[in-house]
Symmetry: C2
Subunit: 482 residues, 2 copies
Amino acid sequence: MPKSWSSSRIDLHLVLDAGRGRRSALESALRDAIREGRLTAGTRLPSTRGLAAELGLSRGTVTAAYDQLAEEGHLFTRPGSGTVVADVPPPADTAPSAAPAPSAPRHDLRPGLPDVGAFPARAWLAATRRVLTDSRAVALGAGDPQGRPELRAALAAHLGRTRGVITTPGRIVVTSGYYQGLSLLGEVLAHGGARTMAVEDPSHDVFRAVVRRAGLATPPLPVDSHGARVDALTRETDAVLLTPSHQYPTGVPLHPGRRQAVAAWARASGGLIVEDDYDGEYRYDRQPVGALQGIAPDRTVYCGTVSKTLGPALRLGWLVLPPSLVGPVVEARRQADLYSENLSQLVLADLITTHAYDRHVRATRLCYRRRRELLLRHAATVAGLTAQGVPAGLHTLLTVPAGWPPEEELLALCARRGIALRGLSELHVAAEGRPPGLLVGFAAPPEHAYRPALQALFETFRNVESGRLSKRVGHLRTRDDQ
Amino acid sequence: MPKSWSSSRIDLHLVLDAGRGRRSALESALRDAIREGRLTAGTRLPSTRGLAAELGLSRGTVTAAYDQLAEEGHLFTRPGSGTVVADVPPPADTAPSAAPAPSAPRHDLRPGLPDVGAFPARAWLAATRRVLTDSRAVALGAGDPQGRPELRAALAAHLGRTRGVITTPGRIVVTSGYYQGLSLLGEVLAHGGARTMAVEDPSHDVFRAVVRRAGLATPPLPVDSHGARVDALTRETDAVLLTPSHQYPTGVPLHPGRRQAVAAWARASGGLIVEDDYDGEYRYDRQPVGALQGIAPDRTVYCGTVSKTLGPALRLGWLVLPPSLVGPVVEARRQADLYSENLSQLVLADLITTHAYDRHVRATRLCYRRRRELLLRHAATVAGLTAQGVPAGLHTLLTVPAGWPPEEELLALCARRGIALRGLSELHVAAEGRPPGLLVGFAAPPEHAYRPALQALFETFRNVESGRLSKRVGHLRTRDDQ
């Protein structure tokens, strides 16, 4: 019902939404007119009696609408001059939104992402239903900066059984992912006087940055075919960040002798081992090697998450800490953002205690094992392309034949075909003189999309290879023709 | 099947778990023996051949078990002296676990907590099912530090409609609660050169502490019956933290004239208004007053959460920011902990767009309105006990009659009866000379427990009252007797 009024001072077309109450419709119409600049600051509105008559509304309705808008600050009442429009600036244009999230690549071979199509949705829903039925007050009511006791108890048993971690629930702190856990730990260590956390070279660039932001230096530790060169650790190193089960990104496990050596270093120097067990659930040729934490439980911080088993967007991680670090890390967590969401903590605890989590890990382990083998069969068809590391995890490092184009060019070629993967060079602390490499994740694509992704990738590789050959042949022909 | 061996050097009772494979059982038995100190460092194990014969296992089984434990670092092989137990220290005693979470009080009248029994579990589960069916890859796969676009779009429309907030999805940043949002905002402002954020006095002590930890001073702004005295703001104040809809804890809304005044201050001085709309959904006597943000959208940060509508443990909050702050706050979020969990963001977006969220808010509004009225009827029976503020929110501030015992004593009396509530004094920046008060939350108890909680509370009050009377009577008697 469009209405208009032309009182003493203003002439305005008000559209009163027929679907709302009269008062609410009048309020909205006036509010919009003010916000959109049709009613400008200082404009005197008609008297309630006048407007009521003009619009065919009761005077009480108009008075109530004026009062509401005055409460909100859109109008104000000036003694002697009635009701006046306040100075409400129009909003600025849409914010320059942060860079839009990149759309998913056609062939997602990024390392480290699991197949979310394999997510145990039915079990998750059933557990959510149980939690909301049996433990609703706990799920919604109050948080614990250390993490829900139910989840910590489930994790203590689970990690002991599956990863050889020695712990009690009291040593575990639940975090919203490894990223936050490492950040809090770095902060606590720096606050306690630590100055360095040695990192593997190569290693994940994002986490090196987290450690540095916490205020710690990150001296690089070279990696060879036996894993990190822990013999390079000194008494001056305060902590070392390791991926002992499956070095990221090279894929080699830390040699038994080096496990002993780094545990001895920690005991002798008082240094701290930070064990990033990012994909320790996934070993394909043998039983997984237990966590390093198991041989130095009082000198190791063990870090795990569901990011590789269920999905990174669940933001569920945990730290298993030496006793002296529990209190400071919990306090740092509380100061950062109080505590983790309860509902998903209780759902995960339920999945672990009902063994649905184990079943899921076993099922995906079989699937990823097959996928890795398929990747290696493809790799064997390209001369000089070599898969590094042991059969484990969600990715394989491929080193490329000598004479191939540089890494950035290979990545660009892949990107042009909609293939997403990662280059090795950005994971090196010092990239000069290092052989190029490509990190191929074999877990992310949905089951039906994995073979097409591999085909696209190896077609690209074969094109590179034949391009080089034909160039060389062309070069030889040119010489022959001379 | 308990087995034991007594080879050249050691005599050990190994319990091989009959429920496991032989190799796995042997590994576990040896691992436990090492960890529990029954096999000590340096002990030479029997040869694989010898142990196999002794235990009736194949030699391959024993070799495999030794290899596994060597990989883990529990054993090592010394050339010429066979397999030796490594130095694995026993774990220290259980960590001194952080203070155990306090158990729920018998009568939970703490301010600010909703009735989680009213949580729309059926709608939440249905939405979770829809999200895991239709948008699983999005729910689990990749996060956005600004928050899922689906939720930001739903919030932009919802906040515009229900709270008069002027925004686009691009101006919204999803956080894991108000606490984190305020912390990130404080950090960004301090980094940008701000030095002060004025706070209401009284106001929530926890959030004042968050602002101070971000590096900002928090000059107090007195609160009277018209809300915060915003006339005390100066050109030197960089920002002001307000609860305009329902001042926390006094319960008065910011007077329309002061809304205008603070908007004018922000425009003139370049200051920033931080609007904590912590319970703006709950107004019982009239339509809720729109957000202050609606009259100064480019100078206001609007903060909201689901903590009062659904539950604090869901850790879902949002900031609506002036355009220039979006980028810095998103980057601060990314650096802190990457992004919020996706699944619950998508579930909330679903609840909002299907109007299940609105229905829930309306239903709880009716319930809390009744509860507040019941509280006020009880309060009217105690002479001098006065409920402050407008009919709104999840709590009421009760000021107590002159001559009653001090606040701490009243709180202790309540605690002794299992009643949890809050005192006013710790919310004052400067508590001296302020009248005592009790903050009574009327939302937290389950429906069946609310009346008993009120009865317990007012019985306590009547005891206080009659205790004073009888003391006075006793005093008079004593004088009469003299």
